[in-house]
Amino acid sequence: MELRKSYFADVRKDDLHEIGQGRPRLDSPGHVTGKTAFFADRNFPGMLHLKMVRSPHHHARIRSIDTSEAEKHPGVVKVLTARDVPHNVYTILILIQIGPEDETVLADGKVRWKGEAVVAVLAETERAAKEAAAKVKVDYEVLPAVFDMEEALKPGAPIVNEYHGQNYYLYDSGECRKVRFGDVEAGFAGADHVLEQSYQSSPIEHAPTETTGCVVMPEGNDRFTCYTNTQAMFFTLDNTSIILQMPGSKLHFVGGTVGGGFGGKVDVIVEPIAILGAKLTGRPVSFIYSREEEMQISSPRAAEKVVIKDGVMKDGRIIARKVTGYTDAGAYSRHSPYGAQKGAGHYPGPYTIPNVWIDTYCVYTNRTPSSAMRGFGVTIGDFALEVQMDKLARLIGMDPLEFRFINAYRDGDMKAHRQPTEGAALIECMQEASRAANWPVAEKYMAMSSYKKEA
């Protein structure tokens, strides 16, 4: 790999020598010898296995739950329902004051997505837990469900989540996150061309090789050690503390070894109920998602819809951009209000545009709750933005890479959300890309710089 130290030479004081060198990973010796301890490699005598009874319906009222047959099943030690959970209604971002609490650890009166946890069964063996779970009788009254964001936002749509009261997250800015910069309508009026396109994506499952789970050991000192593959250790500890109404000092989380996460293991889903099971039985508890649960139950990347309207001049300048983004949170918030907000800040992309209007909505539907995944909130938006950039370049008959040089943000430019640009390197990246891809651009673009404006 070639390092172009000529870039930013007069503002760089470093002497980089690690990049481009092979460096052994500290955890590799454990991986290649099979000694790395993943959470499921902890096995304790007397360990119970937890299996969930899950909703077969997308949206339903729970009339009654009958666990009597399950409790009689050989090997069953404990059956948990909503009333066993000290603080059953929670939301993970409450730690940073993003409420309201809108999700149940175990369903209470209602289910809002197919696969929602209703009853937890703890048994001596995995098989007994599974067999007993099948004996739990839940009487459902099926309710109308909504799966499409635009349908969910229409008046009269079934309300997915009563804790919100409407099918969108209510920000302090209203029904969506808003960015207003310049006068976008005046920009469109003065543009040579206006192009409006919409883009959408489906949910994407992370599919880690190791499924989500934890193993909990009740310790002699009244503490609980939780071996977990969470990607959000302290988030999980603090939320567990809230859900179980238990001081954090009683919880000892051991983790950091994750068999693939990609954002799929940041929700607080398995630990609170497994620790509760260990507390109420006094026994170690293992709760490990099956592959089917990993694919169907764990949060995917949100489905998104992005509508982009651009005003562009024949000389290549984008003078107005209006973006409406929709993030499908599924039935519960988890990290989606944050993802949709991040999208608002991310648009209009790494381009300097004088007139910008952004609205991003976090929408509730009766789908599997979505959450974090690699760059969530901006990844699908980037796909949409860059496809749009290619379309705009084609519209005005300009090379798509040169078109991006014209609009690239540079140090000192004011971004639409009022943060001045600092440390930009888009121009330099595109110059390298031009060379590496053998996609030549005019010499004036190769002479540009992110931090020095031409005289």
Partner: protein
């Protein structure tokens, strides 16, 4: 539940246990014998993380009943290093950055070992074929393929 005896050698050591009839080799190794190097990624024979070697053949231990392995010689990744010296495959996986999260690694190494045991100088296509039952979600397959080819070269050099 009725218990059945299972007895085999694991990485050269005699092992004997009583397990529930129908227990998979994966669960017997992990929960009874305490060798957690084979991993349970899907429990349905599709991911390859549980791969072990039974009498020289690659097996998905999540689909193999422990009671069918009586008298067998079983090899797992935890038994490859000899006297603290890494097996060439382990060395190559380390040196070529072929691990990331590490969950698929023991299964990958097992599949690669069976390949090299039968085909000491494999082509790239041979390696791709041999690893086709093992899923990796992190590094991508290229560094893993390169690691196996590197190990094959190291083997043939030390044999020469």
């Amino acid at each position: 539940m009725a218990k059945v005896p299972v007895q085999f050698t694991l990485n050269g050591s005699e092992k004997a246990e009583f397990v529930d009839s129908g227990t998979t080799l994966l669960n017997a190794l992990r929960d009874k014998i305490g060798d957690t190097s084979p991993k349970g990624g899907c429990q349905q024979g599709t991911c390859g993380a549980c791969s072990v070697i039974v009498d020289g053949e690659l097996r998905l231990s999540c689909l193999t009943l422990a009671e069918t392995c009586n008298g067998a010689a079983i090899t797992t990744t935890s038994g490859l290093a000899e006297g603290g010296v890494l097996h060439p495959l382990q060395r190559a996986f380390l040196d070529t950055f072929a691990t990331q999260c590490g969950f698929c690694t023991p299964g990958m190494i097992m599949a690669a070992k069976v390949l090299l045991d039968h085909t000491p100088n494999p082509s790239r296509e041979d390696v791709v074929e041999a690893l086709s039952g093992n899923i990796c979600r992190c590094t991508g397959y290229e560094p893993i393929i390169q690691a196996v080819l590197t190990a094959a070269r190291a083997n043939s050099q030390s044999a020469a």
